[in-house]
Each structure stands twice: as structure tokens, then as C-alpha cells.
Amino acid sequence: MKLLITGSSGFVGRYVVAEALRRGHSVRALIRPATAIADLKWTDHKNFELVRADLRSKRGLVEAVSGADAVLHLAVSQASDLYGVLAGTVVGTENLLEAMRKAKVDRIVLVSSFSVYNYIKLRTRSKLNESCAVEAEPEKRDNYCLTKLMQEDLVRAAGTEYGLRFTILRPGAIFGKGHVWTSRLGIDLSDRVWIRLGAWAKLPLSYVENCAEAVVMCTEKDEAVGKTFNVVDDETPSQRLYCRQLQRYLNPRPHIVPVAWSLVRTIARIAWFSNRLLFKGKAKVPQVLSPASVHARFKPLRYSNQSLKEVIGWRPRYSLAEALDCSFTLETAEEVDLNLKANIPMDE
């Protein structure tokens, strides 16, 4: 297949490109005009093509999309303010979908996020799967949750309006080389001191190469059309266990300050109540003091990848131990992707 991949130079995107090439697809990577590509190792691959465009502008998008069999949409805004995120994530998706319609490309795999679920409504230790409700008031949560939901709505609307064949993937906490910390652990005050908020909550980890494989496999399988899947690995370690495993690799070892989940939840509740009482709910408090965010990040839940396994036959290729080895020991992400670890031969 010929795949257009947005966000190709990002953390997940570069693994998705590598995985798609490895599986024999042709890749057209959409990369923003000023993004440096010197550190991308797959740009010389015979099945690789680079196209420069910014999704916030319609300029050049139809040409970029034309001829692709499917679009893998991973691009996401890094802006910190709401309107920056709206432009990068929502308007960007809107422009991409319009270009796809004009270019008559009718297949998209959207990489959304676990953050869209309504965690506060979930019962502690219940199972989070694709049938769980999404956040009803995303504006009160955070910009990321809001814009990811808007992005999903746009894709679904395109499916209804003009038959776009879509698949939505919601990865959990994606980790890999250079990205082993997850905000679901707590607060990393510095390299030396971590405040762990909670202990026993399972982490919905998704090793970046496992996730990349799921993204590409969904593109290949017609059974995935119209479906939404959570992407998490088989092993979902507790916060405590994951912290311990990270400590083994890190030098100097970070000192961990544990705070119980019940205390975190109580403090957030007090903060919410005080905000209502003193500021009529207008005060902007840090996320660790917002009940909705605290529940989204630290609530003890169980996670399932059953649906993804059953429908497309995906299995996480790397165990947690192997994934951590890959994350800490190999030289570069691209070497991991293309040459050293892969069991699947490259089509070169």
C-alpha cells in the first residue's frame, strides 16, 4: 500500500514510518516545512518519499494526499494554548480530511488517545475498554482531551457524510527511547526526585514499536474499518513496579516520594470544593489538583486490548522487559526500527 503518514518526524510517527517500510509499504511522510530531517534514518529508503506541508494550511495538501491508499494521521499540536492546539490538531485534521475528499482517498487511521475517556465516572478497578463513555465536559479537563475528541468527531462525521473508511486508535501511555516517563506516575520534580501519586494503579503502557505495529496493521485490515480500538500492551504494571523497573536503568537512581491515591483524590476534592466556594469555580488549578485530571491519570483501573487482538490479530511484539531494554540500551530509535531488533526482514 502507499501510505501517507502525518506527524512522521514525531516520537511515534518515526516508528510508524519504520514499521510501514518494514512491512513492505511505500511511505510518503508529511513533515512540516521547517522540521529538520537530518536525524531521520529512513529518508534514503527506496520506498520512502518526503513531502513538506503544514496541516494548518490547505496549501499543498491535496497534492500530498493524492495517490495514497490510506492516511495514517498522527500529527498533533505541541502548542500550549487552546487556540494553538485547536489550529494544529482540529483545523489540521479538518484540512487533511478535505484534501482526502478532493483527492478521493477514502481510508484513514487516526491515532487518538486514551485521554478521551470519562475517568471520573468509572468505578475504581473497573475495566476500561472501547465501550466506556468519553469525557462529557472535555473543556473542564484539558486542551488535549478536548481537541482529541473534536478530532475523533471530525473523522466520524466524514465517515457518515461521505463514506470515509476510518479506524480510530486510542493508545495508552506510549513509551520508548527518550520517553519512559509517563504523567500517570505523578510528578517528576527533577532527574533525582519523583513524586509518585498512587502505587497500585495499573499503567496502560504501550511500547512505541508495539503501538506502531498496531497502527500499520489497522491500515491493512478491512475488519478494522469503522472501529475504535484501545492500544495497550499485555503487561500493565503497577505504578510502583514500573518505577522500580525504571530505577534499575537510571543512573543516578531517582528518589521516589510516594503519595497514596486516597490522599491525592482527597486533596483534589478539597481543591475543587475550595475553588467552588471561594472563586465560583473560576480558578485555574494545577492538573494534580483537578479531580477530573487526577482520576484520568491515577485512578486504579484495569485495561483491555482484547478488541484489537480479536479484530486485527495484533499481538504486542515486545514484552515490558524487552521494551525497557530497547528503550535504554540501543543507540538510536531508527537503528532499533530498521536494523537491529526487528525479526521481520526489511523489504529493501
Binding site: 516545512p33 494548518r56 485547536l86 483545523v91 485534521t93 472563586f279 473560576k282 480558578a283 485555574k284
Partner: protein, 366 residues
């Protein structure tokens, strides 16, 4: 999200074109005032138009402003699009019979402004540019001190803005999709220069007559200290002298911290403020001459203690430096309803526009 209102008798119908960041301030005002009926919002992006319409209770969302004008015939239109698009959109709104409230700068040149003003007069519509900082608390207080003669005769005005527009992550420094303000005659600084000029002119004497350039003397040094192709200028240092009043306008993108200070110095005293971290520092002669500096410092210290607490609470409650915008809009809508003077007059806009033209001309070496 607010449900769309039903238009009540006697209310003005308003529409908004452009749903970027500044629209939030305008739309909050329109949402919170029941004497204004928000009939529609318009944006090139359907998702953004829908988002703003749902969030602020607009009845409809459009992606084509001409169609919106034709369908709804709003009485007031807020033009909040990037500055380089203003002229065409304002013209169409005026032609459609709408009063126009527009974000700064109203037009890229004084000539364009005059044409728009002429059209507004011909159509008997109000055309008003947002000079919101004139209505922030500290500026109103300084204006009060000047009006009452507490500061004596104003001799110096200094307006200084520091914005890190070149910082990594700033929308103005984005090389992938250059910000529209780079297309203005003075580039990014042109986006902010209306604020600098309107504040300076607020405290400068009214002009009885215009000389060719509008001011007795004007010197502006424009620089691009950071270099590169994207920025035309990232630094402005200008002196304007008119009727014996010295005014300094300063825009910097390299110093720290970000600030927006206004200082007014008169023959009897001086006052200064920072509109980003509001406080008001007033220096006046005290009864005991020898203790004047000390007493002024004590007064400042006490004021800073009080003000820092209030600023903290404001920040906590997501307060912004746009506090003057609601007063500006309130005055504008009052003028539309009862025919009173608008908060920003033709003379105000005209002088600002002339000053900007004169400053920009210096950059071109004219």
C-alpha cells in the same frame, strides 16, 4: 456551553468574524450581555466556527462571511480576523449596513483607514478600532490624575512593551506557517504598535493642527536584531516630540521579563504602571520635602504588597490583561444604542493611524 438565545425586542444583533484567540474576549462579552443577540460566528474552519458558536451560544455558524452578512444582516459585526484581511472585510460589512468593531490595527496604512472611514460616514455606520488598553484600571487612574492636574502638565510619556515574539514556541517565530502579521508593513511589531501609539497619544496633548507628518519631530529606529528572513523587525525605539511633550515608544523582543509599562511624567509628579502585572506607582511631592523620596517608596512598597496579592488571585482566576476590552465594548454598544460618543473617536483612530504611518515611514528611510 450556552444555548443560543432568542432575539429579544430592542436588542442589537451582533456577529463575529474570526474565532482566534482574541475572539474569546469579544465572545465572552457578547455571551454575558443579554441586550446583545449573538446571531452568528464565522470562521474559514467549520470546526472552529461550530466550536465558538456552541461555546458562546451563537445561533448560527458560518464559514463564508458574505453569506452571513446577506442571510442575517447583523447590526454589528466584530472583525477579528488577521490584520491583513481587515480592509476587504470591513468594506463588505459597511456595505452590508453593519456597524463595525475591529481589532487593531484597523488597516495597514493611514490611506486605507481614511477610505474605510469615508465609507463608514457615507453609510452612516460606526467604525471603531479596539484600543482596549486605554480602559484598563491603571490607565484610567493615570488619566484621572492627569485630568485633575495632580501630575501637573504632562511633559514625558513612555510606553514600553517587551514580548518574546522570537522565543521558541511563539506563534510569531513559527517558520512552518509564518504568522499573518509578518505581512504587515512593519511586520510583527505592526500587530502591537496600535497599543503603543494609542496609549502614548492618550497622554499627549490634542493637536490643534497637523503638520505634514502629524508631529513636530519623530525619530524611529527599527531593527531586526535577531536576524533571519522571517522577521522584518523585532525591535523599535522611537521618539516623538509634539507641542513640547517627549514620548518614547519602545518594543523589545530580547529583554526580560515581558512587560507593558506606561509612564507619564508631569511637572508635579509622575505615574507608571505595568499592564501585564498591574500596579500603579505614583510619585508626588509630600508635605515634608526632605521625606518625599522615602514616603513615596513606602507608599510604593505597601501598594506592591497589596497589588501582588490581588494579581495572584487574578491569575488564579484566569484574569488577563484584556480587562479594558469589556469596558471598550460596553462604551461602544452604549454609543450604538443611545447615540452617545463612542469610547474611541475618529480623532483617536486618525492620530494613531498617522503616528503609525510616520513611524513606519522612518523604517523605510523616508
Amino acid at each position: 456551553m450556552k444555548p443560543a438565545l432568542v432575539k429579544q425586542k430592542g436588542t442589537l444583533t451582533a456577529a463575529v468574524i474570526g474565532t482566534g484567540q482574541i475572539s474569546e474576549e469579544h465572545l465572552k462579552y457578547l455571551r454575558d450581555h443579554n441586550d446583545i443577540f449573538l446571531s452568528a460566528v464565522c470562521d474559514l474552519s467549520p470546526a472552529m466556527a461550530k466550536f465558538a458558536a456552541e461555546r458562546y451560544g451563537a445561533e448560527k455558524a458560518y464559514t463564508e462571511y458574505r453569506k452571513m452578512l446577506e442571510d442575517l444582516k447583523p447590526q454589528v459585526v466584530h472583525v477579528l480576523t488577521p490584520p491583513h484581511t481587515h480592509v476587504g472585510i470591513i468594506r463588505d460589512c459597511l456595505e452590508a449596513g453593519a456597524h463595525v468593531i475591529v481589532e487593531k490595527p484597523i488597516a495597514p496604512t493611514h490611506e486605507d483607514f481614511e477610505k474605510l472611514w469615508s465609507l463608514a460616514r457615507q453609510k452612516e455606520r460606526l467604525l471603531i478600532e479596539d484600543h482596549n488598553y486605554l480602559f484598563n484600571d491603571p490607565i484610567l487612574k493615570i488619566k484621572g490624575l492627569v485630568s485633575k492636574g495632580v501630575l501637573g502638565e504632562v511633559k514625558e510619556v513612555e510606553v514600553r512593551m517587551v514580548l518574546h515574539v522570537r522565543e521558541k514556541g511563539s506563534r510569531y517565530a513559527d517558520l512552518n506557517l509564518p504568522h499573518p502579521s509578518h505581512q504587515l508593513p512593519a511586520g510583527v511589531i505592526h500587530e502591537f504598535i496600535t497599543h503603543l501609539c494609542s496609549l502614548a497619544l492618550h497622554f499627549m496633548p490634542k493637536q490643534e493642527r497637523y503638520n505634514e507628518k502629524g508631529f513636530d519631530r519623530i525619530t524611529a529606529v527599527w531593527n531586526n536584531h535577531g536576524g533571519g528572513e522571517l522577521f522584518k523587525y523585532d525591535d523599535l525605539d522611537a521618539i516623538v516630540i509634539d507641542q513640547g511633550v517627549h514620548t518614547r515608544l519602545r518594543f523589545s523582543s530580547s529583554t526580560w521579563p515581558e512587560c507593558f509599562t506606561v509612564a507619564v511624567r508631569g511637572t508635579k509628579g509622575s505615574a507608571c504602571t505595568d499592564l501585564f502585572q498591574p500596579y500603579l506607582h505614583i510619585e508626588l511631592p509630600r508635605k515634608i520635602k526632605q521625606l518625599t523620596p522615602v514616603l513615596n517608596q513606602w507608599a510604593l512598597g505597601w501598594h506592591l504588597v497589596k497589588r501582588s496579592g490581588r494579581n495572584f488571585l487574578d491569575k488564579l482566576q484566569q484574569g488577563t490583561s484584556y480587562e479594558g476590552l469589556s469596558r471598550f465594548l460596553q462604551g461602544t454598544y452604549r454609543a450604538l444604542k443611545d447615540g452617545s460618543n463612542p469610547p474611541v473617536t475618529f480623532e483617536d483612530m486618525d492620530r494613531v493611524s498617522r503616528m503609525i504611518d510616520a513611524l513606519v515611514a522612518q523604517g523605510r528611510g523616508e
